[in-house]
Symmetry: C2
Subunit: 135 residues, 2 copies
DNA sequence: CCGCATCCCTAAGGATACTG
DNA sequence: CAGTATCCTTAGGGATGCGG
């Protein structure tokens, strides 16, 4: 793990390039929320607290195993709270913390980007695959 | 795969919640760039074109296998160009496309977020693990 | 220098069945 | 309802060695 910050002399042509710090720190976080389900969960919880099976239904296609694990991860990172009401049947509510809520804005920036360029990317893929198939 | 857009009546308490569309479309894209290396590559290429081993060195800790695969993925999605100069020894340059470059902005939004809340998240994890260990 | 092919091991993740 | 536990299959990813 290095990501050398010195030695920027190698190449510096086209763009402004105002990054260079906090790159390696971003990766682990992006992976945390870049997994198959976490963003979906955050998105749904952005609409207010949800119960376990409510989440499961609204997300669609997730197993309870993965929902549990994903929620645990988000809870662990302080993005989501888990509130148990020990009634019968038991009731558990999940909600975004302030931290989790603050993630929604940058997330939507990516969302916008993805939505804007979705077709372009699909086209690029199709194109790439087509000429790859033609050897 | 559903993510029902209707039936928002279930819960709508705390936040403004201006999302609800393009959620399922975001996930695959986030996974594409949320893998272990892609963002790092995009970040480094943000500083200008790089050769293969140049990238490898600057990223640090990546195997050439994964670098190749990641670059192929990025190329396939039209985020990166691959330019071969058939000299001896051969020379291959990678650079961001306009599309790839446009990704840097939203990416840095997440980067900022991650950097800002890094400590908080670490603390939350430590806290969670501590009380989990205490059963 | 670039990168494909191979081997191999681990983690991710789905399906199902069972508990408080 | 809200999980936990188990099984099993696949994808991710490192190490190494060869080839243009």
């Amino acid at each position: 793990m290095s990501l050398a910050h010195k030695d920027v002399t190698a190449g510096e042509a086209l763009p402004p390039a105002p990054d260079h710090a906090g790159c390696t720190r971003v990766a682990p976080i992006l992976q945390r929320i870049g997994d198959k389900w976490s963003i979906l969960i955050v998105m749904v919880l952005g609409g207010g607290p949800r119960r376990f099976n409510e989440l499961k239904r609204q997300i669609g296609g997730i197993s309870q195993r993965m929902l549990t694990l994903s929620l645990r991860g988000l809870e662990r990172d302080g993005l989501v709270t888990r509130t148990v009401t020990p009634s019968i049947p038991p009731r558990v509510d999940y909600a975004l913390t302030e931290l989790g809520d603050s993630l929604r804005a940058p997330m939507q920036a990516i969302g916008m980007w993805a939505d804007t360029h979705y077709e372009t990317i699909q086209a690029a893929r199709a194109n790439f695959d087509r000429r790859a198939e033609a050897e």
